[in-house]
């Protein structure tokens, strides 16, 4: 397992995570992620042959609920926290995506 990260690897992960890291952070995270994963490598020798993964610890299933239409948040309220919204049209505004 790699416990050493190259700058290129850090840049690849940052791109996947939608983070624009500064130079300093690239250096820092290369070291720190290496340390953390080096530490996490102690899991590798544990025998997990045939052991199912646990993704959730939900003990009791609440079961199915009625498929009823209930009121939700009003559009005006939903838009109220947006950094850039068109209240007249009722949409979130973002930088141009096409063209």
């Amino acid at each position: 397992m790699p416990a050493v990260f190259s700058r290129a690897e850090i840049a690849r992960i940052a791109a996947l995570a939608h983070l624009e890291l500064g130079e300093h952070e690239v250096e820092l995270f290369a070291d720190q992620l290496g340390d953390i994963l080096g530490y996490a490598n102690q899991l590798q020798p544990i025998d997990t042959t045939g052991v199912p993964p646990t993704s959730s610890v939900v003990i009791e299933d609440e079961g199915e609920r009625a498929d009823a239409v209930v009121p939700s948040v009003d559009r005006e309220i939903a838009l109220a926290n947006a950094p850039d919204a068109s209240l007249e049209v009722g949409l979130f505004r973002v930088p141009r995506v096409i063209g």
């Binding site: 397992m1 850090i10 992960i13 940052a14 996947l16 995570a17 939608h18 983070l19 624009e20 890291l21 500064g22 952070e25 820092l28 995270f29 720190q32 992620l33 340390d35 953390i36 994963l37 530490y39 996490a40 490598n41 102690q42 899991l43 590798q44 544990i46 997990t48 052991v51 199912p52 993964p53 646990t54 993704s55 959730s56 610890v57 939900v58 003990i59 009791e60 609440e62 079961g63 609920r65 948040v73 309220i77 939903a78 109220a80 926290n81 947006a82 950094p83 850039d84 979130f92 973002v94 930088p95 141009r96 995506v97």
Partner: protein
């Protein structure tokens, strides 16, 4: 008057000894006096609290039968409160005012409690010291050069210093129990599903749980009785009926079998004072009628790496929603920005270092080529940890450990070394990985005068036994009479 328990405060209102306005004013005065030094609150909702208190006082009849009428409470700032700013101590949510209230908070308000303010925490609850808040430093009232623990550090300090008799926190890997231990109070993480997570800002959804921080076990039982229960808005909440958890507090531990994982306790990194006081607490429980049994939790030693792989994977997914479009901070446009450039710059500027580190780690362990080796492996080890506890609970009713391997460390001491910081969670993360309820109760002080916590872990949905044992211990040991020295703005002026 500010130095009072939850039970005492509600009784004071019920018998008419104090009005809700007086209780709120006492809390607000304690905050005005101490919080400039301690930094527990990110926002104090004085006007809202006083007007609600006045309304409750005006209509005593209607509120007379509500269990928490007139009592001021503090809420960790990752629980949504409609009309009150909710930031999760992050720049990216600095201006966020939620359109709805978290179910646990709404239940407190329906029971007559009054929100006095929102408490500081590690950004998005990621941390063990509250040093990762984007906004302020929170100090331990027992020694103000020390961290209060985290991530619910502000909630723990608010209660420990008498600014509020009850605070809500959230616990993903120890974030209620560890700050409670380090501040000398009681912190309860309920069974996964016992309390609705609706309106809790998600960090790691399979681990997160909401719970109370209080002075006494009886107060934790009272608070849990109010906030527990199934919720149509949270599909992972459990439909079990909610008992009155205060009824079973008999002061008696007779017949209880308490397991002690000796290997873990004797592991490196456990402070000698912590080991001594936990051992003394076990003797006390024995004197109250419990039997103490050595048990093995062979995989629990691997709980920290398991936790940090699972929790960061879930965090990287949960935090993808902060992109500067629907709410929160958006980085100002630069030239002809693309949508992608806006996302990346917003997240770069909006998140702090620890959050970015965890998003990076989580993204990596979920990425093609590494998923099986890290994420899947951690989920399999998680199964082994659960099985360790299942086997233990065939033999015993509760498992006892320290809450934290050390008392509160100094501010700044571990911030540069993430792995050192993560080691603070060695005894707490297994309960989250297994979904089990666990409580931290004060069990003494280190030679330096810093609080130490005993942790008890119980079976799924058996909070009643957990609370009964913790209460029996507390009555004997009575550590809760010890309060931190007064830390006031006046004394530091």
């Amino acid at each position: 008057m500010a130095h009072t328990t939850l039970s005492a405060a509600r009784t004071a209102w019920q018998v008419g000894a104090h009005s809700a306005v007086e209780l709120c004013e006492a809390s607000l005065a304690a905050i005005a006096d101490q919080d400039p030094v301690l930094g527990a609150f990110t926002e104090v909702t004085a006007d809202r609290a006083l007007s609600r208190a006045a309304a409750i006082d005006r209509d005593r009849e209607a509120w007379a039968h509500q269990p928490l009428a007139g009592v001021p409470v503090a809420i960790k700032d990752n629980l949504c409160t409609a009309e009150v700013r909710t930031t999760a101590s992050s720049r990216i949510l600095e201006t966020f005012v939620p359109p709805y209230t978290a179910t646990a908070v709404a239940k407190l308000e329906a029971a007559g409690a009054i929100i006095i303010g929102k408490t500081n925490c590690d950004e998005f609850a990621m941390g063990s010291s509250t040093e990762n808040s984007a906004f302020r430093v929170t100090r331990n009232p027992w020694a103000t050069d020390r961290i209060p623990g985290g991530s619910s550090g502000g909630s723990a300090v608010a209660v420990a210093s008498g600014m509020a008799p009850l605070a809500l926190g959230s616990d993903t890997g120890g974030s209620i129990r560890q700050p409670a231990a380090l501040c000398g109070i009681v912190g309860l993480k309920p069974t996964y599903g016992r309390v609705s997570r609706y309106g809790l800002i998600a960090f790691a959804s399979s681990l997160d749980q909401v719970g109370p921080l209080t002075w006494t076990v009886a107060d934790a039982a009272l608070a849990l009785s109010v906030i527990a229960g199934g919720d149509a808005a949270d599909a992972t909440s459990a439909p079990h009926p909610v008992p009155d958890y205060t009824v079973g507090l008999t002061g008696n531990a007779r017949g209880l079998r308490i397991g002690v994982p000796r290997d873990l306790l004797n592991g490196e990194g456990v402070d000698a004072d912590v080991a001594t006081h936990v051992q003394q607490a076990l003797e006390t429980l024995k004197a109250r009628g419990a039997s103490i049994v050595d048990i093995a939790l062979p995989t629990a030693a691997a709980a920290i790496p398991t936790y940090y792989l699972v929790a960061t994977a879930e965090a990287s997914s949960n935090l993808a929603r902060y992109d500067g479009v629907r709410y929160g901070f958006r980085a100002p446009a630069e030239g002809r920005d693309t949508l992608r450039a806006m996302y990346c710059r917003t997240r770069e500027r909006g998140f702090g270092a620890e959050v970015k580190r965890r998003i990076m780690l989580g993204t990596y362990v979920l990425s093609a080529g590494y998923y099986d080796a890290y994420y899947l492996k951690a989920q399999q080890v998680r199964t082994l940890i659960r099985r360790d506890y299942e086997r233990a609970f065939e033999q015993v009713d509760l498992v006892a450990m320290p809450t934290s391997p050390t008392p509160a460390f100094r501010i700044g001491e571990r911030i540069a070394d993430p792995v050192q910081m993560y080691l603070a969670d060695i005894f707490t993360v297994s309960a989250n990985l297994s979904g089990l309820p666990a409580i931290s109760v004060p069990c003494g002080f280190s030679t330096e005068g810093l609080p130490i916590g005993l942790q008890l872990t119980g079976r799924h949905f058996d909070e009643a036994t957990l609370l009964r044992a913790a209460d029996a211990y507390e009555r004997d040991a009575n550590w809760s009479v010890h309060r931190p020295p007064h830390v006031g703005a006046r004394t530091h002026a």
